[in-house]
């Protein structure tokens, strides 16, 4: 197991995510605009319950059970959702006025990266959903790294960021099979696997990840896991309010989630029904493990405390009154740096 000196990590507060995809676009514009990267979304935000991106990734295997590597399968290009071409020329330059509308050119797609947006689950008036943003988890026990027969994947000693060495990568995609989160993409033009790099060129300059810094909802906290003055340690270790997604996959992710609360249910008479939660506990347990119930309990207790006129350190941290404090010291303004492409 690769143990790094320090581990950069992220906490995402699912109670604040509005599914606006600003993170997705911030990442796209910065990192995945080159040839072969059209279909790549290193950052995705999906509606849960839902099939996710790539489609049904939670049923694709990989990772570890009792520390033993589990067989995984490769998502198809259709599972990811191919990049569609649109009839921009016809609509904007075709001189056809309002006779034509924007549509996909070629085969009618039947899936895309956010296809089941806002569908969720449950019956009105007790339907429910929440948004789940995902990036590479930069795992402590990375299944991708261990699966590669060419040692083309490294976990950086200084900060635990997991990177693919494109000079060593032969495009075998064993990493894609092994990653249980299916967060590795294959570049068909360059014939190498690619994935989220935790914005390491920004991090090295003291700038937080683009997805975190651009988030209008102040959802994402960044920093070293071990930094007791930073937000990650406080949320994950001190308050134990943030949990990894699918801990049973055995890779020890370094992205943690504050689980979603939801409004109370409504019964047949239109009255509030607080006998059971709107989002079923068992569903959240299936995503975040049994500790999710302790996390939700703590959140409710702290909210009650504040309603009663008290103060809550953990809620103040989650509300993120002081934006820069979300970034664990990586709060430098990227506009103060002259960036060049190597």
């Amino acid at each position: 197991m690769a143990v790094s000196k320090g581990q950069l990590a992220m906490v995402m507060d699912l109670n604040k995510c509005i599914g606006c995809q600003t993170c997705t676009i911030a990442c796209k514009r910065l990192w995945t605009r080159e040839e072969g990267m059209d279909y790549m979304w290193w950052n995705t935000v999906n509606t849960m319950p839902g099939r996710g991106t790539p489609r049904d990734w939670e049923q694709m295997g990989g990772g570890f059970r009792d520390a033993v590597a589990q067989p995984g399968r490769l998502p198809t290009s259709r599972d990811f959702g191919e990049a569609w071409d649109f009839n921009y020329d016809e609509v904007f330059q075709g001189g056809k006025g309002d006779k034509v509308h924007l549509k996909v050119v070629g085969e009618e797609p039947d899936w895309g990266p956010n296809w089941d947006e806002d569908q969720g689950a449950g019956e009105y008036p007790n339907s429910y959903y929440f948004y789940l943003p995902r990036i590479c988890n930069h795992c402590t026990h990375p299944a991708c790294l261990e699966a590669c027969p060419r040692q083309a994947i490294v976990k950086r000693d200084e900060d635990g960021i997991v990177l693919i060495d494109e000079d060593r990568c032969r495009g075998y995609r064993f990493c894609m099979e092994a990653c249980p989160y299916k967060k590795i993409y294959f570049n068909h033009a360059r014939k190498v696997s690619q994935k989220c790099i935790f914005c390491f060129p920004r991090i090295e300059q003291g700038v937080a990840n683009a997805c975190a810094r651009q988030c209008p909802g102040r959802v994402r906290f960044v920093g070293y896991r071990e930094d007791q003055n930073g937000p990650i340690w406080k949320l994950v270790d001190r308050w134990k309010v943030a949990l990894p997604l699918h801990p049973e996959y055995g890779t020890e992710p370094n992205v943690f989630y504050v689980p979603p609360l939801a409004p109370p249910r409504i019964d047949a008479n239109g009255n509030l029904d607080e006998s059971k939660p709107r989002i079923p506990d068992e569903y959240l347990v299936s995503l975040f493990g049994p500790k999710v119930l302790d996390s939700l309990k703590l959140l409710k207790e702290e909210m009650a405390k504040v309603r009663g006129g008290g103060k809550s350190e953990v809620l103040e941290l989650l509300i993120a009154y002081r934006w820069k404090e979300m970034f664990g010291g990586f709060d430098r303004d990227p506009a103060t740096i002259e960036w060049t492409k190597a």
């Binding site: 198809t76 259709r78 014939k191």
Partner: protein
Amino acid sequence: MLLDPDGAPWIGARDSDIALFGTPAGPQPTAAIRSRWMGKPIGAVTGVRVAAAHNGELLAFRLEWDDANHDHSAVDTTVFSDGAAVLIPVAADAPVRTMGAPGAAVNAWYWRSDDNARGHHVVAEGLGTTRSLESEPVRARGVWSGGRWRVVIARALDANTSEPIAPLRPGETTGFAVAVWEGGHEERGGIKSFSGDWRELRLAPVALARR
């Protein structure tokens, strides 16, 4: 001419049919690969027809095998390129099944259908240790027609390099082995068909075709 599978040097070449076997899952270099392939069929291509010729500068192998499902147009994360390689020992005692061992290198002359016009020269000293050499004296060309791949893979007999490269000399004998990857069966890396123990090839003392 040597690089053209239908070129004049190959007319009347002596072909040998070599049986290929799937690599075993057990010795694959990572646990994830072993878990994925254990108990699954490996080695979709079960035989290859091989001929060899040299012209005093290049030694070339022509490999032919049936591949009815070959498809150039498919671009999917689950589709891999077909490939073929000839393995040559650098050290006489290099083990073939582990692609060499520390201190006992082997050379692989590697061709892949998505990179058809060139070859790769690979050195290995054991499973999972392959590295491509910067100098690329390996040349290759594949032609697919009528449900069959016909691929020529050639290398200069010798190269001026400090890298471990098997020197080949007319009149001498070398071992060789062959591997084929069926991309449509997700074969890549150590998941392939291979020919087993070293086979012997004697290079003719005089180049028959210097063109």
